[in-house]
Amino acid sequence: MKAMHAQGDLPIPGIHHIDQPYWFDEGGDLSPEDFGLATARKLEEAIDQIGEDKVAAFMAEPIQGAGGVIIPPESYWPEIKRILAERDILLVADEVISGFGRLGEWFGSTVYDIEPDLIAVAKGMTSGYLPMGGVLVHDRVADVLQHEGGEFFHGYTYSGHPACAAAAIANLQIMQEEGVVEHVRDVAAPRFADMFASFADHPLVGEARTKGLLGAIELVPSKPGRERFADYGAVGTLCRDIAFETGLVMRAVRDSMILSPPLVITPDELEWMGSTVGKVLDKTGAELKRRGLW
């Protein structure tokens, strides 16, 4: 994201960023639980520094997706909740990825037991058949908009587009009738987690983590110490290209390999995915050795 900020002259004024709960790269000697607490308390420090009366909201994804499937330690969200509640500051959850079943419940907010004031959604709402997104508004915010807000000067030409709405309805009907979210929870996610646990034994893998049908594999030169390859990001790109050639789309975020398959993936398809990832890791290791990089 640093590259995006630099190119786009971001962040814009009025947006303040705090550290991410990325234990694998930034946790140092702390346990994941202690690191989760420490990172959450950066929010407390930032609010105190900026001034409680000047902070409108805290925005975050339940799990950071495009940042590299950063699954926060279990201690993180309860502490964020405490800090926001004590200061009466709004929470905005970006559920563009976690919304509509990916974590085995309809929304990631219930998985993490948070009650955001606003929930941003998109992606899975139409399964990508047409572009559509939205903001789910908590009743306590909607009441203010309705009774005290006056005119809301915001909207888009395609807000509520009828064809996109028809796609969303058909998509959500399929998800309900076919029990897609239950399939994630009961069938696909447990197998996905077992598969990732098996990746952890590979010599190139420093960590393999999942939540629901989101997964990340950290590629490292050696297991203990969570070290990184010298040219950070290059090994991920190599591995991604090898995956494509081997018949599997994976995404590389730096040296983290990401998987986030369709929710309807079957046990047979998951098995194919698992054996293919194994081959991809072996081929990546062989290529790194051939190049003298490992």
Partner: protein
């Protein structure tokens, strides 16, 4: 219809793509040297490229294809809606049946205190909407908040390096 409606040779498609198409999040110089992979079909979790290779879509497109590719029910529903009412806005004190039905559906799927939906076209726009929708209640309501910020917009705080839409807000 044949199995693949695209019958053009891959290299011709790649050359045309390189001539006129700027891709997102891409180093255009190196992509144009290498040539884009041309995806021509999707079915379930599988994609097919213009050389006939089958590739598993391990990213569900861009994290979004929950039900898999190629479901005819969606195509039918969209076609039917387009024949009935392809577009109308929701600005002029106007609405339409599909957005009414969808809003009810999402309110039922969502946890209890979420009964209202504001529509946009993407997650990026959703996260552009968040500060506006959040700043308004905090700036206007004395009854439901225990204090008002000194500026109406306040300062949203985001987790660092969370995805682009949040940071763009």
């Amino acid at each position: 219809m044949s199995e693949l409606s695209n019958q053009h040779p891959t290299d011709a498609l790649q050359a045309l793509d390189a001539s006129h198409h700027l891709h997102p999040f891409t180093d255009h110089g190196s992509l144009r040297q290498e040539g884009s992979r041309v995806i021509v079909k999707g079915e379930g979790v599988w994609l097919t490229d213009s050389d006939g290779n089958r590739i598993m879509d391990g990213m569900a497109g861009l994290w979004n294809v929950q039900i898999g590719h190629g479901r005819g029910e969606i195509a039918d529903a969209v076609a039917a809606q387009m024949r009935e009412l392809s577009y109308y806005n929701t600005f002029f004190k106007t609405t339409h049946p599909p957005v009414i039905a969808l809003s009810e559906m999402i309110a039922k799927l969502a946890p209890e205190p979420y009964n209202q939906m504001f529509y946009v076209s993407s997650g990026s726009e959703a996260n552009d909407t968040d500060p506006a929708a959040g700043a308004l209640p905090i700036g206007t309501s004395k009854a439901s908040r225990r204090r008002r910020p000194s500026s109406p917009a306040g300062t949203p705080i985001t987790a660092r390096r969370s995805p682009a839409p949040v940071l763009a807000a």
